[in-house]
Symmetry: C2
Subunit: 337 residues, 2 copies
Amino acid sequence: MLHVTYDEAVAAMTAGLLRYLPEDKARRFAEIFAGNSLDGVYSHGMNRYPRYLSDMDKGLCDRTVTQAERVSGFGALEVWDAHFGVGPLIAEQVTCRAIDLAREHGIACVALRNNSHWLRAGRYGLMMADAGMMGICFTNTCMNLVAYGTTEPSTGNNPITLAVPRRAGSLVMDMAVSQYAFGKLEIMAQEGKMLDTPCGYDTEGNLTCDPREINRSKLMMPMALWKGSALSIMLDLMAASLSLGRTSLDIGRPGDGEKGMSQVFICLNPAAVVDAGEMDAQIERTVAFLSALPPKDGVHGVHAPGENLAATRQRNLREGIPVTEETWQKITDAAKG
Amino acid sequence: MLHVTYDEAVAAMTAGLLRYLPEDKARRFAEIFAGNSLDGVYSHGMNRYPRYLSDMDKGLCDRTVTQAERVSGFGALEVWDAHFGVGPLIAEQVTCRAIDLAREHGIACVALRNNSHWLRAGRYGLMMADAGMMGICFTNTCMNLVAYGTTEPSTGNNPITLAVPRRAGSLVMDMAVSQYAFGKLEIMAQEGKMLDTPCGYDTEGNLTCDPREINRSKLMMPMALWKGSALSIMLDLMAASLSLGRTSLDIGRPGDGEKGMSQVFICLNPAAVVDAGEMDAQIERTVAFLSALPPKDGVHGVHAPGENLAATRQRNLREGIPVTEETWQKITDAAKG
């Protein structure tokens, strides 16, 4: 594992992106990749950079489109179309729009259709929370999971983020509706570890905790069996309906190339209706209570979601961002053009 | 198991509630209990009636308060205070308010503090969906679960509902953040059945699928281990912060008497920004796709959440609502005063 500084990472990725994007957009996109890794979300940061370049090469993502277009609106609810453009740049654009609308109306929602992969859900919730807002954002995906009750690919892992503003550092939950990321499952399979909870079927169709079996069958389920399945289906329907964009069914199976997701950005402005100081004090009481809980053996106690983000960011700024040699090689190769 | 008609059920419960409430409120409250059972949500319908009478007897719920008071508002975001009044009546009141605000602004949110138990989350989502809206509603609860990473009661099962309008019958997901209801766990323990997925610790602190062990330890966890824990914590913080109401920590442990919950009612008006017919056709495609999936052995295929609700309601209208003799006895006893 290498450690590279945030500035080195941004410079190298900006250089590679200049083949695709104008300079300001290239730099911002590089900052997003590096920023996600800086925050400790390595699975949706720099390691996704090579794949995103390839998506732009293949036309899965249209690099000529870096802004969404407003399709319709009524008060605090708007529909925008990303026209298959550069996902994270467009997601940031409509996040800013949702924040502006929430400042005006107290709550707002932008429903976005035809966007490319937005990388890290939590980024958009965090942007809202850092602006003093609460966020509820979710996206659909291709049908990378089997719904509980069948063995056919049928629903997405539809990541969702919930974010709450906090003076000492915003809180943010960022999770896919699957129990494990596919990458994590592969690592556990290689290490011969068993899962804590069954999250897929084996090739015989039995629930299993063995990641090797799920890797073989490709039959991963949503978390919590029927509950995660229901959540996944509803998030997909809400995102696609609000934006009149693609459903998971339209996006297709993983092999089809994941193109044109439907995404929802709901933003609430609590400071408009309650005292922000009182709210912060109340949040702090729960955070302190959770931190003080006796940890169960082998697990590092309980933390509010995102509570450790600021410390991770500081450590990575100080010591450099950890990145595999393979990923860094690809990034520096792309920079040479 | 007895079967009683909806009208019999409403009449009997109205009679008992007249000792607590004026006639119009008594009848509406009885319709809510009976309606929830009619829809097949037996766990949050007539069987909760005796407990709710007892909550009013004990003053846990203030029967003299049947309307919430508006505390503050900004555009489409409002805070209301229920003053520990009659939960489901007040939840219906603010649901109607959220629908009215969403008609005006495209999206709206009412944050409600100090409400009593609202019975069934799905009712409020369904009210929105039946009005052509989408709904996102959630409540916090007392700390009836242990968060992943500790063995102390520390978070709630915070039910959430997501609802989508549909001409053939609104879709609604209604779920607590625990894998199993406590009642279901008890039934499975009595039947000697094992759980499909570990959802609590045994008395030694190990993850277990044995419901008898969890009944002994009382250490039930949120669904999906760390994922459900994060979701539960965030829902609590959002509900309590937006309303400046009680957190799960304030509400306390189950033995404390669950009093004064914080609840959120978000309502979206998709028909204001997209064509309702196109939206309906799109939802129908996913519903049809899910229904046509090959069912895995022993499980009845996949359905969109709430898809079977209308059929259940029709059956219960035709054949009567199933109710245990014990519950019906309590209802008829209360009717005699």
